[in-house]
C-alpha cells in the first residue's frame, strides 16, 4: 500500500509539472479548473503532449513517458515554442 501511494504521489507531481510546462510553452489552457483537481480534458492534454513530443522529435505517444518528462526538466529558454511571447 505505501508503494502504491508513493507511485501515485510521484505521478501527480509529474502531471502537475507537465501541465505547468505545457501551459508555459504549448499554450495549454486550464479554463479555470484548479490544477490540483486534475480535471483537465485528457484528450487536450494528450494532444499538447503529442505536440511537444513532435516538436522535440520524441516518439509521439501522448503519454508522459520518461523521455518526455526528462526533456521537460531540461533547462530551457522561457519563450514558448507554440505561441507568441507577450
Amino acid at each position: 500500500a505505501p508503494l502504491t501511494h508513493n507511485n501515485r504521489s510521484t505521478e501527480k507531481i509529474d502531471v502537475t509539472f507537465a501541465i505547468e510546462y505545457l501551459s508555459n510553452f504549448y499554450n495549454l489552457h486550464l479554463d479555470g479548473t484548479p490544477m490540483t483537481k486534475m480535471k483537465i480534458n485528457n484528450n487536450f492534454l494528450e494532444e499538447k503532449i503529442q505536440e511537444m513530443q513532435q516538436f522535440f522529435g520524441l516518439k509521439v505517444t501522448g503519454q508522459l513517458d520518461s523521455s518526455t518528462l526528462e526533456l521537460m526538466h531540461t533547462p530551457r529558454c522561457g519563450v514558448p515554442d507554440a505561441q507568441h511571447f507577450t
Binding site: 508555459n24 531540461t74 529558454c77 522561457g78 519563450v79 515554442d81 507568441h84 511571447f85
Partner: protein, 368 residues
C-alpha cells in the same frame, strides 16, 4: 521565425546592458554580449551599437523571479532566460534569470550561448526543432572555440534580413540588390525548380511563377548557405525533382528543394575532358531525357538514364541549333521550348521543330 514575422525596420540597432550579474566580471559580461551580437551581425546586414544611457532598442537585464514583465523567472534551472521579439518598448529586450550561475566557460550556464539564443528572439526568430540550432529551446553546451550558427539559424535570420553586407534585395531597382528591369541585364544561369523559374545573378537569384510577372529575390546564401555565389549553369530533371547547379569544375545537387549535404562533384565525373574548366549553360530535354551542356562554341549531350556522355560530342552549337550563336550565358526548358540567354537578349527555340520561334529581351519574364 515568430508568428506574423516581426522584424526591425532598420539595420542599425542599439543595445544597453541595464545591469550585471555578480557571477561574472563586468568585462566578461560585456564581451559575451558583444560577441553574441556579432554572431548575428556576421550573417546579416544588421549593425549593433552599444549605448550606456537613453533608450536602446535591445535592453539586457539580469533579474530574479517577478521582474515586471508578467513572465516571472522560476529560480535556478528550469527557465534560464527569455526575450521579446522586435518592437518598441520592451520589444527586443532580453532578460536573464539571475538565479542561474552565469559563466564564460562550461561551468553553470554559458552567458554567450544563452545570449546568442535570446538575441535571436530579439531579432525575430522563434524556436527551431533542429537540435543543432542555437534557436533550439533547450540549453546545450557547444564548443566555444568552434561555435557557429547552424544552417537552420542562418536560413531563419536571413529570411528576415537578407545576407551580410546587403539590404533585403528587391526585384526592382532601389539601389540595393540587382535590378530586374535593367535593359542590359544578363544572367549567370536559369532553371526551373518545381513550379518556379530561378534566374541566377551573382549572389542573388530571382524566383517567379511562369504565368505571373511578380518575382521574389533572395540571396543564394540565405537559402543554401553552403552553395557558392556566381552559379554558372543549372538544369532540372523534373520527373526526379532534381536540380543540378554548376560552378567552375564542380556541381551540386538539389533534390526535392534540399541541397544534398555531400560535397560537390567534379564535372569531369560526367565525362567532360580535363580541358573543360567550366560550363556556360545547361538545359534538360525531357523528350530525349538528355542534358545539354554548352561550353564556348560547342555543346555536349549527357544521357541522364545511362549516366554517360553521348558519343559523337561535342558538336558545334551554330550547326545543330540553327540561328543560335555562341556563346550561351544561360538556358532553360519550359513547355516545349528552350530559352537561350545571350547577353541582354533571349531566344525562344522550339525543341520539336528545331527552329527559333521568338527573340526577346533577357528580362522578358519580369513584365518590365
Amino acid at each position: 521565425t515568430m508568428p506574423q514575422r516581426p522584424v526591425w525596420n532598420k539595420r542599425s540597432l542599439t543595445y544597453r546592458i541595464h545591469n550585471y550579474t555578480p557571477d561574472m566580471k563586468r568585462e566578461d559580461v560585456d564581451y559575451a554580449i558583444q560577441k553574441a551580437f556579432q554572431v548575428w551581425s556576421d550573417v546579416t546586414p544588421l549593425k549593433f551599437r552599444r549605448i550606456h544611457a537613453g533608450e536602446a532598442d535591445i535592453v539586457i537585464r539580469f533579474a530574479y523571479r517577478d521582474h515586471g514583465d508578467f513572465n516571472s523567472f522560476d529560480g535556478k534551472d528550469g527557465i534560464l532566460a527569455h526575450a521579446f521579439g522586435p518592437g518598441s518598448g520592451i520589444g527586443g529586450d532580453a532578460h536573464f534569470d539571475e538565479a542561474e550561475t552565469w559563466s564564460k566557460s562550461t561551468q553553470g550556464r554559458n552567458l554567450f550561448l544563452v545570449a546568442v539564443h535570446e538575441l535571436g528572439h530579439s531579432l525575430g526568430l522563434g524556436h527551431s526543432r533542429d537540435p543543432n540550432a542555437i534557436m533550439y529551446p533547450n540549453y546545450r553546451h557547444f564548443d566555444l572555440n568552434t561555435f557557429h550558427l547552424s544552417a537552420d539559424d542562418v536560413r531563419g535570420i536571413q529570411s528576415l534580413y537578407g545576407g551580410p553586407g546587403t539590404h533585403q534585395p528587391k526585384p526592382n531597382p532601389d539601389g540595393s540588390g540587382p535590378a530586374a528591369c535593367d535593359p542590359n541585364l544578363t544572367f549567370d544561369a536559369v532553371t526551373t525548380m518545381g513550379d518556379k523559374i530561378l534566374f541566377f545573378k551573382d549572389r542573388f537569384f530571382w524566383w517567379k511563377l511562369p504565368e505571373s510577372t511578380a518575382a521574389g529575390v533572395s540571396s543564394i546564401y540565405s537559402v543554401w548557405p553552403t552553395l557558392p555565389s556566381g552559379i554558372q549553369a543549372a538544369y532540372e530533371v523534373k520527373d526526379r525533382n532534381q536540380v543540378f547547379l554548376f560552378k567552375d569544375d564542380k556541381y551540386w545537387l538539389i533534390s526535392d528543394l534540399r541541397l544534398q549535404p555531400n560535397p560537390p562533384k567534379r564535372i569531369h565525373s560526367l565525362g567532360f575532358p580535363e580541358s573543360v574548366k567550366k560550363i556556360d549553360a545547361a538545359v534538360f530535354n525531357p523528350f530525349l531525357h538528355k542534358a545539354y551542356f554548352f561550353v564556348d562554341n560547342q555543346y555536349w549531350r549527357y544521357d541522364v538514364k545511362r549516366q554517360l556522355m553521348d558519343p559523337t560530342y561535342p558538336r558545334l552549337i551554330s550547326k545543330w541549333f540553327p540561328g543560335i550563336k555562341p556563346k550561351i550565358d544561360a538556358a532553360f526548358y519550359f513547355k516545349g521550348h528552350f530559352y537561350f540567354f545571350q547577353g541582354s537578349n533571349q531566344v525562344e527555340y522550339d525543341v520539336r521543330s528545331q527552329r527559333i520561334t521568338k527573340r526577346l529581351k533577357s528580362n522578358s519574364w519580369f513584365g518590365c
